[in-house]
Protein backbone atom coordinates (compact mmCIF):
# COMPACT_ATOMS: atom_id res chain seq x y z
CA UNK A 1 0.00 0.00 0.00
CA UNK A 2 1.01 3.56 -0.52
CA UNK A 3 2.61 5.17 2.50
CA UNK A 4 1.39 8.48 3.74
CA UNK A 5 3.19 11.80 3.52
CA UNK A 6 2.18 15.23 4.75
CA UNK A 7 0.44 17.77 2.55
CA UNK A 8 0.89 21.40 3.51
CA UNK A 9 -1.56 24.13 2.62
CA UNK A 10 -2.07 27.78 3.35
CA UNK A 11 -5.73 28.78 3.15
CA UNK A 12 -5.98 32.50 2.60
CA UNK A 13 -9.38 34.08 3.28
CA UNK A 14 -9.75 37.66 2.16
CA UNK A 15 -12.24 40.11 0.71
CA UNK A 16 -10.01 42.54 -1.05
CA UNK A 17 -6.79 43.43 -2.63
CA UNK A 18 -3.36 43.68 -1.04
CA UNK A 19 -1.98 47.18 -0.74
CA UNK A 20 1.25 46.84 1.15
CA UNK A 21 4.55 44.99 0.70
CA UNK A 22 5.62 42.58 -2.00
CA UNK A 23 3.35 40.99 -4.61
CA UNK A 24 1.39 38.15 -2.94
CA UNK A 25 1.61 36.07 -6.12
CA UNK A 26 5.38 36.14 -5.76
CA UNK A 27 5.40 35.04 -2.12
CA UNK A 28 2.84 32.35 -2.98
CA UNK A 29 5.21 31.06 -5.67
CA UNK A 30 7.96 31.01 -3.06
CA UNK A 31 5.78 29.00 -0.68
CA UNK A 32 4.94 26.56 -3.48
CA UNK A 33 8.65 26.07 -4.08
CA UNK A 34 8.90 24.97 -0.43
CA UNK A 35 6.17 22.39 -0.97
CA UNK A 36 3.38 24.51 0.51
CA UNK A 37 0.27 24.96 -1.62
CA UNK A 38 -1.59 28.28 -1.37
CA UNK A 39 -5.40 28.26 -1.71
CA UNK A 40 -7.38 31.48 -1.77
CA UNK A 41 -11.01 32.20 -1.00
CA UNK A 42 -12.32 35.63 -1.88
CA UNK A 43 -15.50 36.56 -0.02
CA UNK A 44 -17.89 38.76 -1.98
CA UNK A 45 -20.23 41.22 -0.33
CA UNK A 46 -23.84 40.17 -0.76
CA UNK A 47 -24.51 43.10 -3.06
CA UNK A 48 -21.48 42.48 -5.26
CA UNK A 49 -22.73 40.94 -8.49
CA UNK A 50 -20.00 40.41 -11.05
CA UNK A 51 -16.51 39.25 -10.30
CA UNK A 52 -14.90 42.52 -9.24
CA UNK A 53 -11.61 43.39 -10.91
CA UNK A 54 -9.82 43.89 -7.61
CA UNK A 55 -10.27 40.23 -6.84
CA UNK A 56 -8.35 39.04 -9.91
CA UNK A 57 -5.51 38.85 -7.40
CA UNK A 58 -7.28 35.92 -5.71
CA UNK A 59 -6.88 33.79 -8.81
CA UNK A 60 -3.31 34.94 -9.44
CA UNK A 61 -2.15 34.02 -5.93
CA UNK A 62 -3.62 30.50 -6.17
CA UNK A 63 -2.20 29.99 -9.66
CA UNK A 64 1.33 30.74 -8.60
CA UNK A 65 0.80 29.00 -5.26
CA UNK A 66 -0.17 25.71 -6.99
CA UNK A 67 -3.56 25.84 -5.30
CA UNK A 68 -7.23 26.46 -5.96
CA UNK A 69 -9.16 29.71 -5.76
CA UNK A 70 -12.82 30.57 -5.55
CA UNK A 71 -14.93 33.67 -5.08
CA UNK A 72 -18.00 33.12 -2.88
CA UNK A 73 -20.80 34.81 -1.04
CA UNK A 74 -20.99 34.29 2.71
CA UNK A 75 -23.89 31.82 2.44
CA UNK A 76 -21.85 29.13 0.69
CA UNK A 77 -18.55 29.69 2.47
CA UNK A 78 -18.59 26.43 4.46
CA UNK A 79 -18.99 24.16 1.47
CA UNK A 80 -16.53 26.16 -0.58
CA UNK A 81 -13.79 26.03 2.04
CA UNK A 82 -14.05 22.25 1.95
CA UNK A 83 -14.27 21.86 -1.80
CA UNK A 84 -11.26 24.10 -2.26
CA UNK A 85 -9.19 22.27 0.37
CA UNK A 86 -10.05 18.82 -0.93
CA UNK A 87 -9.66 19.79 -4.57
CA UNK A 88 -6.24 21.22 -3.84
CA UNK A 89 -5.26 17.98 -2.09
CA UNK A 90 -6.31 15.94 -5.11
CA UNK A 91 -4.54 18.34 -7.41
CA UNK A 92 -1.28 18.13 -5.48
CA UNK A 93 -1.43 14.35 -5.27
CA UNK A 94 -2.29 14.09 -8.95
CA UNK A 95 0.68 16.30 -9.73
CA UNK A 96 2.83 13.99 -7.72
CA UNK A 97 1.45 10.92 -9.50
CA UNK A 98 2.03 12.61 -12.85
CA UNK A 99 5.65 13.15 -11.89
CA UNK A 100 5.99 9.46 -11.10
CA UNK A 101 4.31 8.57 -14.39
CA UNK A 102 6.80 10.71 -16.23
CA UNK A 103 9.61 8.79 -14.61
CA UNK A 104 8.05 5.43 -15.39
CA UNK A 105 6.88 6.19 -18.91
CA UNK A 106 9.75 8.54 -19.68
CA UNK A 107 7.49 10.86 -21.64
CA UNK A 108 5.31 13.86 -21.02
CA UNK A 109 2.20 11.81 -20.46
CA UNK A 110 -0.04 12.83 -17.60
CA UNK A 111 -2.90 10.92 -16.06
CA UNK A 112 -5.37 12.62 -18.38
CA UNK A 113 -3.61 11.25 -21.45
CA UNK A 114 -4.11 7.64 -20.39
CA UNK A 115 -7.00 5.43 -21.49
CA UNK A 116 -10.03 5.70 -19.17
CA UNK A 117 -9.43 2.23 -17.70
CA UNK A 118 -5.86 2.99 -16.61
CA UNK A 119 -6.94 6.41 -15.36
CA UNK A 120 -9.49 4.70 -13.12
CA UNK A 121 -6.81 2.57 -11.49
CA UNK A 122 -4.54 5.53 -10.87
CA UNK A 123 -7.40 7.60 -9.51
CA UNK A 124 -7.93 4.92 -6.87
CA UNK A 125 -4.35 5.43 -5.74
CA UNK A 126 -4.83 9.20 -5.65
CA UNK A 127 -7.99 8.74 -3.58
CA UNK A 128 -6.23 6.40 -1.17
CA UNK A 129 -3.50 8.97 -0.70
CA UNK A 130 -6.01 11.76 -0.17
CA UNK A 131 -7.77 9.74 2.48
CA UNK A 132 -4.71 8.58 4.38
CA UNK A 133 -2.11 11.33 4.04
CA UNK A 134 -1.50 13.75 6.86
CA UNK A 135 -2.51 17.33 6.26
CA UNK A 136 -1.36 20.62 7.71
CA UNK A 137 -3.51 23.67 7.02
CA UNK A 138 -2.52 27.16 8.04
CA UNK A 139 -5.55 29.42 7.84
CA UNK A 140 -4.62 33.00 7.12
CA UNK A 141 -7.46 35.44 7.70
CA UNK A 142 -7.60 38.99 6.47
CA UNK A 143 -8.95 41.01 9.42
CA UNK A 144 -8.99 44.42 7.83
CA UNK A 145 -12.06 46.50 8.69
CA UNK A 146 -14.22 45.39 5.75
CA UNK A 147 -14.15 41.76 6.97
CA UNK A 148 -16.16 42.78 10.03
CA UNK A 149 -19.50 41.20 9.14
CA UNK A 150 -17.86 38.14 7.59
CA UNK A 151 -15.85 36.80 10.51
CA UNK A 152 -18.67 34.89 12.26
CA UNK A 153 -19.31 32.99 9.02
CA UNK A 154 -15.59 32.34 8.59
CA UNK A 155 -15.50 30.88 12.09
CA UNK A 156 -18.39 28.49 11.36
CA UNK A 157 -16.82 27.46 8.07
CA UNK A 158 -13.54 26.59 9.78
CA UNK A 159 -15.21 24.48 12.47
CA UNK A 160 -17.06 22.71 9.68
CA UNK A 161 -13.81 22.16 7.76
CA UNK A 162 -12.33 20.52 10.82
CA UNK A 163 -15.33 18.15 11.09
CA UNK A 164 -14.88 17.13 7.45
CA UNK A 165 -11.14 16.64 7.51
CA UNK A 166 -11.22 14.80 10.80
CA UNK A 167 -13.55 12.26 9.22
CA UNK A 168 -10.58 11.18 7.09
CA UNK A 169 -8.24 8.40 8.11
CA UNK A 170 -5.13 10.62 7.90
CA UNK A 171 -4.17 13.03 10.65
CA UNK A 172 -4.68 16.79 10.49
CA UNK A 173 -3.10 19.82 12.06
CA UNK A 174 -4.62 23.28 11.82
CA UNK A 175 -3.55 26.69 12.94
CA UNK A 176 -4.95 30.16 12.42
CA UNK A 177 -3.15 33.41 11.82
CA UNK A 178 -4.65 36.80 11.12
CA UNK A 179 -3.15 39.73 9.28
CA UNK A 180 -2.21 42.51 9.62
CA UNK A 181 -0.87 41.91 13.15
CA UNK A 182 -0.36 44.60 15.73
CA UNK A 183 3.39 44.82 15.34
CA UNK A 184 4.20 41.97 13.00
CA UNK A 185 2.83 41.08 9.58
CA UNK A 186 0.77 38.23 10.98
CA UNK A 187 -0.56 37.37 14.41
CA UNK A 188 -1.09 33.93 15.86
CA UNK A 189 -4.74 33.32 16.74
CA UNK A 190 -4.75 29.56 17.30
CA UNK A 191 -1.72 27.33 17.60
CA UNK A 192 -1.23 24.06 15.70
CA UNK A 193 -3.82 21.60 16.89
CA UNK A 194 -5.69 18.58 15.50
CA UNK A 195 -9.10 20.21 15.78
CA UNK A 196 -10.66 23.61 15.45
CA UNK A 197 -13.66 23.14 17.72
CA UNK A 198 -12.44 25.40 20.49
CA UNK A 199 -11.84 28.18 18.02
CA UNK A 200 -14.96 30.08 19.12
CA UNK A 201 -13.29 31.54 22.17
CA UNK A 202 -10.21 32.87 20.46
CA UNK A 203 -11.55 34.26 17.25
CA UNK A 204 -9.60 37.28 16.03
CA UNK A 205 -10.59 40.79 16.74
CA UNK A 206 -10.51 43.21 13.89
CA UNK A 207 -7.60 45.43 13.24
CA UNK A 208 -8.81 48.83 12.25
CA UNK A 209 -7.22 50.70 9.41
CA UNK A 210 -7.01 49.95 5.76
CA UNK A 211 -3.79 48.10 5.19
CA UNK A 212 -3.82 44.62 3.71
CA UNK A 213 -0.25 43.28 3.55
CA UNK A 214 -1.14 39.96 1.86
CA UNK A 215 2.31 39.36 0.37
CA UNK A 216 4.28 39.68 3.61
CA UNK A 217 1.59 37.69 5.42
CA UNK A 218 2.01 34.69 3.09
CA UNK A 219 5.76 34.87 3.49
CA UNK A 220 5.52 34.85 7.28
CA UNK A 221 2.97 32.03 7.17
CA UNK A 222 5.45 29.90 5.27
CA UNK A 223 7.81 29.84 8.23
CA UNK A 224 5.17 28.44 10.57
CA UNK A 225 5.36 24.98 9.03
CA UNK A 226 7.74 22.29 10.17
CA UNK A 227 10.87 21.89 8.07
CA UNK A 228 10.27 18.80 5.94
CA UNK A 229 8.92 19.54 2.49
CA UNK A 230 6.17 17.43 0.98
CA UNK A 231 8.32 15.98 -1.78
CA UNK A 232 11.06 14.99 0.57
CA UNK A 233 8.69 13.31 3.00
CA UNK A 234 6.95 11.34 0.27
CA UNK A 235 10.29 10.26 -1.23
CA UNK A 236 11.49 9.10 2.13
CA UNK A 237 8.43 6.93 2.44
CA UNK A 238 9.03 5.48 -0.99
CA UNK A 239 12.44 4.35 0.12
CA UNK A 240 10.91 2.78 3.20
CA UNK A 241 8.49 0.92 0.98
CA UNK A 242 11.32 -0.50 -1.04
CA UNK A 243 13.21 -1.51 2.06
CA UNK A 244 10.15 -3.26 3.41
CA UNK A 245 9.41 -5.03 0.15
Amino acid sequence: MVKKGTLKQILLITDGCSNKGEDPAATAALAYEQGIVVNVIGILDDDQTEQPEGLQEVEDIALSGGGVSQLVYKATLSQTVQTVTKQAMTQTLQGFVNLELKQILGSNETMDDLAPEKRGEIMEVVEDLGETCDLEVLVLIDTSASMNDKLPTVKEALIDLSISLNSRIGRNRFCIYSFPGKRKDIEKVYDWSPKLDSVSTVFPKLSSGGITPTGPAIREAMYQFSKKSLRRSLRKNDEQDIEEA
Binding site: E59, A62, S78, Q94, A115, E117
Partner: protein, 308 residues
Protein backbone atom coordinates in the same frame (compact mmCIF):
# COMPACT_ATOMS: atom_id res chain seq x y z
CA UNK B 1 -4.91 20.84 -14.73
CA UNK B 2 -7.65 23.02 -13.40
CA UNK B 3 -6.83 25.72 -10.95
CA UNK B 4 -10.23 27.17 -10.57
CA UNK B 5 -13.54 25.55 -9.79
CA UNK B 6 -15.24 26.33 -13.05
CA UNK B 7 -18.92 27.02 -13.19
CA UNK B 8 -19.65 26.55 -16.86
CA UNK B 9 -20.89 23.12 -17.76
CA UNK B 10 -22.34 23.86 -21.13
CA UNK B 11 -19.75 23.30 -23.77
CA UNK B 12 -22.23 24.35 -26.44
CA UNK B 13 -23.63 20.87 -26.72
CA UNK B 14 -26.94 21.06 -28.56
CA UNK B 15 -29.67 18.53 -29.32
CA UNK B 16 -28.89 16.65 -32.53
CA UNK B 17 -25.15 16.84 -32.00
CA UNK B 18 -23.09 13.67 -32.28
CA UNK B 19 -20.48 12.84 -29.69
CA UNK B 20 -17.90 10.23 -30.59
CA UNK B 21 -15.46 8.85 -28.04
CA UNK B 22 -11.73 9.11 -28.61
CA UNK B 23 -10.86 5.66 -27.27
CA UNK B 24 -13.81 3.38 -27.96
CA UNK B 25 -15.25 5.17 -30.97
CA UNK B 26 -18.90 4.81 -30.01
CA UNK B 27 -21.21 7.58 -31.23
CA UNK B 28 -24.01 9.15 -29.19
CA UNK B 29 -26.68 11.49 -30.53
CA UNK B 30 -27.65 14.15 -28.00
CA UNK B 31 -31.43 14.42 -27.49
CA UNK B 32 -31.87 16.88 -24.66
CA UNK B 33 -30.35 18.14 -21.44
CA UNK B 34 -31.54 16.28 -18.33
CA UNK B 35 -29.85 18.42 -15.73
CA UNK B 36 -26.57 19.67 -14.39
CA UNK B 37 -24.84 19.75 -11.06
CA UNK B 38 -21.55 20.48 -9.36
CA UNK B 39 -19.53 18.09 -11.47
CA UNK B 40 -21.04 18.05 -14.92
CA UNK B 41 -24.05 18.05 -17.21
CA UNK B 42 -26.24 15.05 -18.00
CA UNK B 43 -27.88 14.60 -21.41
CA UNK B 44 -30.40 12.15 -22.75
CA UNK B 45 -28.77 10.51 -25.78
CA UNK B 46 -29.49 7.79 -28.29
CA UNK B 47 -27.16 5.01 -29.27
CA UNK B 48 -27.91 1.97 -31.43
CA UNK B 49 -31.62 2.64 -31.22
CA UNK B 50 -31.97 2.99 -27.47
CA UNK B 51 -31.81 5.78 -24.94
CA UNK B 52 -29.06 6.35 -22.43
CA UNK B 53 -27.88 9.12 -20.12
CA UNK B 54 -24.54 10.76 -20.91
CA UNK B 55 -22.68 12.76 -18.31
CA UNK B 56 -19.93 15.07 -19.51
CA UNK B 57 -17.50 17.34 -17.67
CA UNK B 58 -14.08 18.94 -17.77
CA UNK B 59 -13.36 17.58 -14.31
CA UNK B 60 -11.56 14.40 -15.26
CA UNK B 61 -10.59 13.41 -11.71
CA UNK B 62 -14.11 13.66 -10.24
CA UNK B 63 -15.59 11.88 -13.26
CA UNK B 64 -13.08 9.06 -12.93
CA UNK B 65 -14.00 8.70 -9.26
CA UNK B 66 -17.71 8.43 -10.15
CA UNK B 67 -16.98 5.84 -12.83
CA UNK B 68 -15.03 3.77 -10.32
CA UNK B 69 -18.04 3.77 -8.00
CA UNK B 70 -20.47 2.80 -10.79
CA UNK B 71 -18.16 -0.03 -11.87
CA UNK B 72 -17.94 -1.31 -8.34
CA UNK B 73 -21.72 -1.13 -7.80
CA UNK B 74 -22.22 -2.92 -11.10
CA UNK B 75 -20.52 -5.95 -9.60
CA UNK B 76 -23.03 -6.20 -6.75
CA UNK B 77 -25.44 -9.10 -7.30
CA UNK B 78 -28.86 -8.31 -8.75
CA UNK B 79 -27.88 -4.70 -8.69
CA UNK B 80 -30.38 -1.92 -8.71
CA UNK B 81 -27.87 0.21 -6.85
CA UNK B 82 -27.53 3.12 -9.20
CA UNK B 83 -27.64 3.26 -12.99
CA UNK B 84 -25.58 0.66 -14.83
CA UNK B 85 -22.47 1.89 -16.61
CA UNK B 86 -22.31 1.51 -20.39
CA UNK B 87 -19.21 3.37 -21.61
CA UNK B 88 -16.44 5.71 -20.48
CA UNK B 89 -14.50 7.87 -22.89
CA UNK B 90 -13.01 11.26 -23.78
CA UNK B 91 -14.44 13.73 -26.25
CA UNK B 92 -12.44 16.37 -28.07
CA UNK B 93 -14.66 19.29 -29.02
CA UNK B 94 -14.34 21.06 -32.39
CA UNK B 95 -11.85 23.56 -30.98
CA UNK B 96 -9.63 20.91 -29.47
CA UNK B 97 -10.62 20.97 -25.78
CA UNK B 98 -10.86 17.67 -23.98
CA UNK B 99 -13.79 16.49 -21.88
CA UNK B 100 -14.48 13.25 -20.08
CA UNK B 101 -17.84 11.57 -20.44
CA UNK B 102 -19.53 8.40 -19.34
CA UNK B 103 -22.71 6.78 -20.54
CA UNK B 104 -25.13 5.06 -18.19
CA UNK B 105 -28.59 3.55 -18.09
CA UNK B 106 -31.26 6.22 -18.49
CA UNK B 107 -33.53 6.15 -15.48
CA UNK B 108 -36.90 7.41 -16.64
CA UNK B 109 -38.77 8.57 -13.63
CA UNK B 110 -40.76 11.15 -11.81
CA UNK B 111 -39.67 13.31 -8.88
CA UNK B 112 -40.79 12.03 -5.48
CA UNK B 113 -42.86 14.98 -4.20
CA UNK B 114 -45.23 15.28 -7.19
CA UNK B 115 -45.61 11.50 -7.23
CA UNK B 116 -46.74 11.45 -3.60
CA UNK B 117 -49.04 14.41 -4.20
CA UNK B 118 -50.74 12.62 -7.08
CA UNK B 119 -50.76 9.08 -5.77
CA UNK B 120 -51.20 9.48 -2.07
CA UNK B 121 -49.33 9.30 1.20
CA UNK B 122 -49.67 5.51 1.41
CA UNK B 123 -46.62 5.35 -0.83
CA UNK B 124 -44.34 6.77 1.86
CA UNK B 125 -44.17 3.46 3.69
CA UNK B 126 -43.41 1.62 0.46
CA UNK B 127 -40.60 3.94 -0.52
CA UNK B 128 -39.09 3.88 2.94
CA UNK B 129 -38.85 0.09 2.87
CA UNK B 130 -37.52 0.03 -0.70
CA UNK B 131 -34.87 2.63 0.10
CA UNK B 132 -33.80 0.88 3.28
CA UNK B 133 -33.51 -2.36 1.30
CA UNK B 134 -31.22 -0.71 -1.22
CA UNK B 135 -29.20 1.01 1.48
CA UNK B 136 -28.74 -2.30 3.25
CA UNK B 137 -27.41 -3.90 0.05
CA UNK B 138 -25.16 -0.93 -0.60
CA UNK B 139 -23.74 -0.94 2.93
CA UNK B 140 -23.20 -4.71 2.79
CA UNK B 141 -21.10 -4.22 -0.32
CA UNK B 142 -18.89 -1.77 1.54
CA UNK B 143 -20.27 1.60 0.43
CA UNK B 144 -22.20 4.49 1.92
CA UNK B 145 -24.34 6.58 -0.45
CA UNK B 146 -23.29 9.91 1.07
CA UNK B 147 -25.19 12.55 -0.86
CA UNK B 148 -28.66 11.10 -0.29
CA UNK B 149 -31.17 13.85 -1.06
CA UNK B 150 -34.58 14.24 -2.62
CA UNK B 151 -33.15 15.54 -5.90
CA UNK B 152 -31.15 12.32 -6.28
CA UNK B 153 -34.22 10.08 -6.11
CA UNK B 154 -36.62 9.16 -8.90
CA UNK B 155 -39.78 7.06 -9.01
CA UNK B 156 -39.83 4.69 -11.96
CA UNK B 157 -43.03 3.11 -13.28
CA UNK B 158 -44.11 -0.54 -13.60
CA UNK B 159 -43.18 -1.65 -11.11
CA UNK B 160 -43.34 1.53 -9.09
CA UNK B 161 -39.97 1.78 -7.46
CA UNK B 162 -37.79 4.42 -5.92
CA UNK B 163 -34.29 4.60 -7.40
CA UNK B 164 -31.29 6.77 -6.85
CA UNK B 165 -29.06 8.54 -9.33
CA UNK B 166 -25.83 10.45 -8.91
CA UNK B 167 -23.24 8.42 -7.07
CA UNK B 168 -20.96 11.45 -6.71
CA UNK B 169 -21.05 11.19 -2.93
CA UNK B 170 -20.77 7.41 -2.68
CA UNK B 171 -17.87 6.62 -0.37
CA UNK B 172 -16.14 3.50 0.91
CA UNK B 173 -17.15 2.74 4.50
CA UNK B 174 -14.68 4.22 6.98
CA UNK B 175 -13.57 7.11 4.78
CA UNK B 176 -14.62 10.76 4.76
CA UNK B 177 -17.91 11.41 2.90
CA UNK B 178 -16.98 12.73 -0.55
CA UNK B 179 -19.89 15.00 -1.27
CA UNK B 180 -22.92 16.04 0.75
CA UNK B 181 -25.66 18.65 0.95
CA UNK B 182 -25.96 20.66 4.16
CA UNK B 183 -29.63 20.02 4.92
CA UNK B 184 -29.14 16.24 4.75
CA UNK B 185 -25.73 16.19 6.46
CA UNK B 186 -25.53 15.18 10.12
CA UNK B 187 -22.28 17.14 10.44
CA UNK B 188 -24.11 20.36 9.61
CA UNK B 189 -26.68 19.60 12.32
CA UNK B 190 -23.96 18.85 14.85
CA UNK B 191 -25.24 15.28 15.13
CA UNK B 192 -22.23 13.27 14.04
CA UNK B 193 -19.09 13.05 11.98
CA UNK B 194 -18.71 12.92 8.22
CA UNK B 195 -17.19 9.48 8.37
CA UNK B 196 -18.90 7.07 5.99
CA UNK B 197 -20.99 4.78 8.20
CA UNK B 198 -24.44 3.26 7.58
CA UNK B 199 -25.84 5.64 10.23
CA UNK B 200 -24.71 8.59 8.09
CA UNK B 201 -27.08 7.48 5.32
CA UNK B 202 -29.90 6.74 7.77
CA UNK B 203 -29.75 10.31 9.07
CA UNK B 204 -29.93 11.64 5.51
CA UNK B 205 -32.74 9.17 4.82
CA UNK B 206 -34.92 10.81 7.50
CA UNK B 207 -34.11 14.25 6.12
CA UNK B 208 -35.19 13.00 2.67
CA UNK B 209 -38.56 11.97 4.09
CA UNK B 210 -38.90 15.35 5.82
CA UNK B 211 -37.97 17.28 2.71
CA UNK B 212 -40.98 15.78 0.94
CA UNK B 213 -43.16 17.71 3.39
CA UNK B 214 -40.93 20.77 3.78
CA UNK B 215 -40.23 21.94 0.22
CA UNK B 216 -38.46 25.03 1.52
CA UNK B 217 -36.39 23.01 3.98
CA UNK B 218 -35.52 24.56 7.34
CA UNK B 219 -32.30 25.65 9.01
CA UNK B 220 -30.41 25.16 12.21
CA UNK B 221 -30.60 28.10 14.57
CA UNK B 222 -27.31 27.31 16.18
CA UNK B 223 -25.21 24.22 15.74
CA UNK B 224 -25.55 22.84 19.28
CA UNK B 225 -26.79 19.27 19.49
CA UNK B 226 -29.76 19.75 21.76
CA UNK B 227 -31.29 22.62 19.82
CA UNK B 228 -30.89 20.93 16.44
CA UNK B 229 -32.40 17.70 17.75
CA UNK B 230 -35.36 19.64 19.09
CA UNK B 231 -35.79 21.45 15.78
CA UNK B 232 -35.81 18.24 13.75
CA UNK B 233 -38.06 16.39 16.23
CA UNK B 234 -40.60 19.21 16.07
CA UNK B 235 -40.62 19.04 12.29
CA UNK B 236 -41.25 15.28 12.42
CA UNK B 237 -44.07 15.71 14.95
CA UNK B 238 -45.78 18.33 12.83
CA UNK B 239 -46.43 15.94 9.92
CA UNK B 240 -49.45 13.71 10.59
CA UNK B 241 -48.58 11.17 7.91
CA UNK B 242 -45.31 10.46 9.73
CA UNK B 243 -46.82 9.94 13.18
CA UNK B 244 -46.75 6.12 13.07
CA UNK B 245 -43.07 6.19 12.10
CA UNK B 246 -41.96 9.03 14.34
CA UNK B 247 -40.13 6.87 16.88
CA UNK B 248 -38.13 5.16 14.12
CA UNK B 249 -37.33 8.43 12.41
CA UNK B 250 -36.15 10.03 15.64
CA UNK B 251 -33.96 7.07 16.46
CA UNK B 252 -32.23 7.41 13.10
CA UNK B 253 -31.67 11.12 13.68
CA UNK B 254 -29.86 10.41 16.93
CA UNK B 255 -27.83 7.60 15.38
CA UNK B 256 -29.48 4.74 17.29
CA UNK B 257 -29.59 2.35 14.33
CA UNK B 258 -26.35 0.73 13.28
CA UNK B 259 -27.72 -0.88 10.13
CA UNK B 260 -30.50 -0.19 7.65
CA UNK B 261 -31.80 -3.67 8.36
CA UNK B 262 -32.51 -2.66 11.97
CA UNK B 263 -34.41 0.40 10.85
CA UNK B 264 -36.29 -1.52 8.20
CA UNK B 265 -37.29 -4.10 10.80
CA UNK B 266 -38.67 -1.32 13.00
CA UNK B 267 -40.69 0.20 10.18
CA UNK B 268 -42.03 -3.19 9.17
CA UNK B 269 -43.17 -3.71 12.74
CA UNK B 270 -45.07 -0.43 12.54
CA UNK B 271 -46.75 -1.61 9.36
CA UNK B 272 -47.47 -5.06 10.81
CA UNK B 273 -48.89 -3.57 13.99
CA UNK B 274 -51.13 -1.37 11.90
CA UNK B 275 -52.38 -4.37 10.01
CA UNK B 276 -53.22 -6.18 13.24
CA UNK B 277 -54.98 -3.15 14.68
CA UNK B 278 -56.84 -2.88 11.44
CA UNK B 279 -58.30 -6.35 11.88
CA UNK B 280 -59.16 -5.78 15.52
CA UNK B 281 -60.90 -2.49 15.13
CA UNK B 282 -62.64 -2.90 11.83
CA UNK B 283 -65.95 -3.54 13.54
CA UNK B 284 -65.69 -1.22 16.49
CA UNK B 285 -64.03 2.02 15.50
CA UNK B 286 -64.56 2.83 11.89
CA UNK B 287 -63.30 6.39 12.35
CA UNK B 288 -59.78 5.08 12.95
CA UNK B 289 -59.94 3.20 9.71
CA UNK B 290 -58.59 5.86 7.52
CA UNK B 291 -55.17 6.39 9.04
CA UNK B 292 -54.64 2.73 9.78
CA UNK B 293 -55.89 1.78 6.36
CA UNK B 294 -53.14 3.83 4.81
CA UNK B 295 -50.50 1.82 6.61
CA UNK B 296 -52.20 -1.42 5.68
CA UNK B 297 -52.13 -0.48 2.02
CA UNK B 298 -48.47 0.57 2.30
CA UNK B 299 -47.51 -2.84 3.64
CA UNK B 300 -49.39 -4.51 0.80
CA UNK B 301 -47.76 -2.41 -1.90
CA UNK B 302 -44.34 -3.06 -0.49
CA UNK B 303 -44.74 -6.81 -0.38
CA UNK B 304 -46.07 -6.81 -3.91
CA UNK B 305 -43.12 -4.74 -5.09
CA UNK B 306 -40.77 -7.33 -3.61
CA UNK B 307 -42.35 -10.04 -5.74
CA UNK B 308 -41.99 -8.09 -8.97
Amino acid sequence: MMNKISRKHDFLIKPGMKITGKWHNHTYVIKKKLGSGAIGTVYLCETKGSYAALKISDKSASMTTEVNVLKSLGKVQGNRLGPSLLDVDDWINPIGQKYTFYVMEYIKGEAVRPFIQQNGNEWIGVFMLQLLDDLEKLHKSGWVFGDLKLENLLITASPTRIRWIDVGGTTLIGRAIKEYTEFYDRGYWGLGSRRAEPSYDLFAFVMVILSIYYPHKFHRENPSQTTTTTTIFKKIDAIKTLTPYSICLKKAITGKYETSAQMKQAIQTVLYQAEKNHQEITNQKPFLMESVGILFVAGGYYFISLLL
